[in-house]
Assembly symmetry: C2
Homo-oligomer: 143 residues x 2
Amino acid sequence: MSAEFRIHSTLLDDCHRLGRLQDCHVLLHRDAALHWFILVPETDHTDLLDLPNAARSMCINECAVVSSFLKNNLGYPKVNFASIGNVVPQLHLHVIGRTPSDAVWPAPVWGRLATDHRYDQAQLARLCSELTTAIGLRRVADS
Amino acid sequence: MSAEFRIHSTLLDDCHRLGRLQDCHVLLHRDAALHWFILVPETDHTDLLDLPNAARSMCINECAVVSSFLKNNLGYPKVNFASIGNVVPQLHLHVIGRTPSDAVWPAPVWGRLATDHRYDQAQLARLCSELTTAIGLRRVADS
């Protein structure tokens, strides 16, 4: 459904659009207090656990690749993973680097993380370059 | 590792222990304001996305079965799914029935759901019976 697929406007408001992997679009939450990736598969399903097994595995495998990047390239000791979607119904998967020194540890980030830390363009460019090299991110222009 | 495997004491304090499926122990959060299942696979990994692909798929497939039970048997329109583990390091997977009329909608439940609703023994017995029939839950004595 790629031709007509549109990422929900709330996700685009909240996130930088970095690019895509094979199955999922890759967004990065604008709050730079920690690295909070959001992966968006192109599907009409709204709950991860409702996806057919093969499609679910493909999405989650890409989340696992992003999780490995958070740990191996960015040094996070812990990753939180979730599919919630109570506010934005479009299926989107949270892959969030966590560390005991972060702004809201040990609380989950949703509804709690609201700092004024922002990425600058150089940081975003460097991150995208690292993602391209490490996990094959294909770039798109940031929204 | 079943012989030595112990479910973390905090999970046992917070939950009823209902039984197990093939790969995961099945717990139910004691707050009965909504149905909040917690599945515990027997592994030393602490992050879901670090599990080897086959083990991860098995766990998530069981979460999907519980999600279907929440929707088809208990009537929830929405399921939240997460692996967080910032407080309890033992890997555990949240599979939570959500509805716009619930106590904390649309917020996530973690750190927010704290009602005085509790299951009585008859409710727990009925739920376990339904889980046994619908998804093959094998019973254990509640802790």
